[in-house]
Symmetry: C2
Subunit: 361 residues, 2 copies
C-alpha cells in the first residue's frame, strides 16, 4: 500500500468520512511563501484568518513573520484575542456587532483596528470606544472597482476622515483597499488623489492595506502600500489553481470522502455534499477536484451527496473507495466543520478546532 | 415602534447581526401541520432532522405524534440518541461512518435502522452489527427517478434483500423511496413489482418510507407506504413558497441582518453572506427574500457580504437598518451556525443549540 493508502485507512478507522484534512508540510510551505512574497515586496503581511479560523494556524503565520492578523467578523477577533493575538484588523463595517456591545467588550481588552465606509459605522464605533474607554483605530474602506463595500470617491473618504478627527474616541489609522486584479492603476489614482488631500490636512495614514491571494501577483504595485492581507494562500484551492497562483500540490486542504453508491459505471455518489464542500463553485465548473480521478466530475450536490459523473474516467472508483477532493473555494469549506485533521508525511498528527466558526456575529 | 421593531432592537442589543431566528409559534404550527398531513394520509410521520439538527425540536415533533426521526449522518443520530430519542432511521449509505467504528458504538446503545443500495454497505453494516452484538435493521434504498442513490431495478433490491436474509447480523426491515414529484406512478410500478417478488419469498417489509416536504402533495398515493420523512416543513423556505407548500407567513426561520454599506441609492451590502445564508440558491433567483423589501434582490454573496440590488424598491433600506431574510434553502442555512435564537410573539425566549451540526461524519 502507498503511504496515501495507509493514510486513508487511518482516516477511515479513526474518523470515518467525509473528513476534512490539512497537510502540515504544505500549510507551512504556503505560510512561508506568503511571508516571502510580502517581504520581497516590502509590505507587512497581515494574513486573513477567515480561511482557517484557527488560532493555532494564526500563530504559525505570526511566527513566520506576519505583523498581525485580519478578521472578517467580530466573533473571529474574539477567538483570536482570547488566544493571545493582539494586533487585529477587522476588515469590514461591523455595525450589528458594535451595537451588541461586543465590540466595546473586546476593545476593553485590546486595541482593535476597525473599518468603515459610512457615518453610521463611525458613530457606532465611537460609542463602542467610549464604552470601552479606549479610542478605536479606524481605517476607511475604499472601493476602487470591486463594487462591494467602500467609498467610491477620495472626497467621500476625506469627509469620513474629517469626522474621525473630530471624534475623541476615534483615531484615523489608515486606508483599506481591495483592488480588483486589473484595477491597481485605478487604485493608485484614487490613492494619490486622497493622499494629496490628506497632505493638505497634514495627515499621514499609518496603514495602507491591500488584499487578496490572487493580488500577490500585483503586490508592491501600489505606491504607498504598507501591508497586505491574504487568506486563501494558507491552504489554496481550485480557484487559486485556476488563477495560476497555486499548483495542485500546493493545496493543503482536502476532504477525504467515500464512494457510497454507484447505480452504474458512469455515475456514483460521494458522502460529501453541500453541507461538506458547500454550493460555492467559485465560478468554476463542478464542485471540486478529485485528485485520484482528475477526469471525474462532481456535477451536483444535495446536502450529504456528491453526484459523481465518471464517463470520462479511464479508471473508475468503486463503492467503498476513498477519494480526496480539493474544493473550489476552501474558505467556505473549512467553515463547515468544527475540526480539521492535521497530517504530515501522510500520518495523522492531531485534530485542530476551527475555533472561530459558527459564530452568529 | 411595532413589535417587530422592538424585536429587532432586542436582537441587535443581545446578539448583534447576522442573527438566525426561529419563531416558536410558526414552528409549532408547522410541526402540527406535518403531523396532520401524515395522519390524514394514514402514514406514520418520521420527520427528517437534517433541517434543524436540534434534539429539542426533534422531541417537539415526537410529542406532536411523530413515530421516530430520520437522520442523514451518523453524527446526527449520535446527538439525537444522546438526547434520548430511540427510533432513528439513517436514510443513506454510511460506509465511512460504519468503518470508523462509530456505527457499532451507537448500535450497542440502541437499535438503529440503516439504509443500503449495495453489497459493500451491507458488508460494513454486518461487521458493525456483529461488533455491537445487536443485529441492524436494514432498509433498501430504491431509486425511482431522482438519479441519486438507490437501486434502479426491483431485481437488484431483491438480490440485496436475499443477502440480508442470509446474514445473521442484518434484518430486512423495509424499503426507502424518495419519489420525484412526478414519479409516484413509476414508484408504484417499482414497488408492486418488488412486493410481488417479496411475496414469493414470504417477506413483508415493515417499513415502506417515502420522503420530502414537496411530496406532501402526493402523500398516500403510494399504495403500501407506511411512513413519510419530511424535513424542510418544520421551518419552510423560499423553495417551499415557490413550490406552493408554504406561504411567507409559514416560514419560521429568518436571518436578521444589518445594512452595513451603501455606495449609492441602488445598491447596498448586508452583513450576511455565503457563510450565513450559503451559496445554495435552491434553483431560485437570488439568495433569499427580504421580508421588509420584497422588491429588493440579494444578487450575490461574498463570504460575509450580501450584495443588495435596490433599483426596483420604492422604499429603500438605509445603513444601519435591520432586515429579515428568508433563505431559499433553510436546511443549509441552519447548518451554518452553532445556535438559533428562538422568539415568540416577537419576544426572545432563549437560544437553542444546533447540536448536530459541524460533525465530520
Amino acid at each position: 500500500m502507498s503511504s496515501l493508502d495507509n493514510l486513508k485507512s487511518s482516516i477511515i478507522s479513526q474518523f470515518g468520512t467525509p473528513c476534512p484534512v490539512i497537510d502540515l508540510d504544505v500549510v507551512e510551505s504556503n505560510i512561508d511563501k506568503a511571508q516571502r512574497i510580502c517581504d520581497n515586496a516590502g509590505v507587512a503581511n497581515r494574513p486573513h484568518i477567515k480561511t482557517h479560523k484557527s488560532p493555532l494556524l494564526a500563530k504559525m503565520q505570526i511566527d513566520a513573520g506576519a505583523k498581525g492578523i485580519t478578521c472578517q467578523k467580530l466573533g473571529e477577533a474574539e477567538i483570536m484575542a482570547d488566544a493571545g493575538i493582539d494586533d487585529i484588523l477587522i476588515a469590514t463595517n461591523i455595525i450589528g456587532a458594535a451595537r451588541s456591545g461586543r465590540l466595546a467588550s473586546l476593545q476593553k481588552k485590546l486595541s482593535l483596528k476597525v473599518c468603515a465606509d459610512n457615518k453610521v459605522s463611525l458613530s457606532e464605533y465611537s460609542k463602542a470606544a467610549e464604552a470601552a474607554n479606549r479610542p478605536l483605530d479606524v481605517l476607511i474602506e475604499c472601493d476602487t472597482g470591486q463594487k462591494r463595500a467602500g467609498v467610491e470617491k477620495p472626497g467621500e473618504a476625506l469627509r469620513l476622515i474629517e469626522l474621525i478627527i473630530k471624534d475623541k474616541w476615534l483615531k484615523f489609522t489608515g486606508l483599506l483597499y481591495y483592488p480588483p486584479l486589473d484595477g491597481w492603476k485605478d487604485t493608485q489614482i484614487f490613492h494619490d488623489d486622497l493622499t494629496k488631500k490628506l497632505n493638505g490636512l497634514n495627515l499621514k495614514p499609518k496603514i495602507i492595506s491591500t488584499g487578496g491571494t490572487p493580488n500577490f501577483a500585483n503586490i508592491g504595485k501600489l505606491n504607498g502600500a504598507t501591508e497586505h492581507r491574504a487568506g486563501t494562500c494558507i491552504f489554496n484551492d481550485m480557484m487559486m489553481v485556476e488563477d495560476g497562483f497555486a499548483q495542485i500540490s500546493d493545496c493543503g486542504f482536502r476532504v477525504f470522502t467515500s464512494v457510497v453508491s454507484k447505480a452504474n459505471d458512469n455515475r456514483g455518489i460521494l458522502d460529501a455534499g453541500s453541507k461538506t464542500l458547500t454550493s460555492d463553485t467559485g465560478g468554476l465548473k463542478g464542485f471540486g477536484y478529485i485528485t485520484e480521478y482528475p477526469e471525474a466530475n462532481i456535477i451536483k450536490f444535495s446536502e450529504e451527496h456528491g453526484f459523481l459523473e465518471l464517463k470520462d474516467c479511464k479508471n473508475k472508483p468503486s463503492i467503498g473507495d476513498i477519494v480526496t477532493v480539493i474544493p473550489n473555494h476552501v474558505c467556505v469549506a473549512v467553515n463547515m466543520v468544527d475540526k480539521l485533521v492535521m497530517v504530515q508525511n501522510n500520518k495523522i498528527i492531531k485534530t485542530i478546532p476551527v475555533a472561530a466558526r459558527g459564530m452568529l456575529v
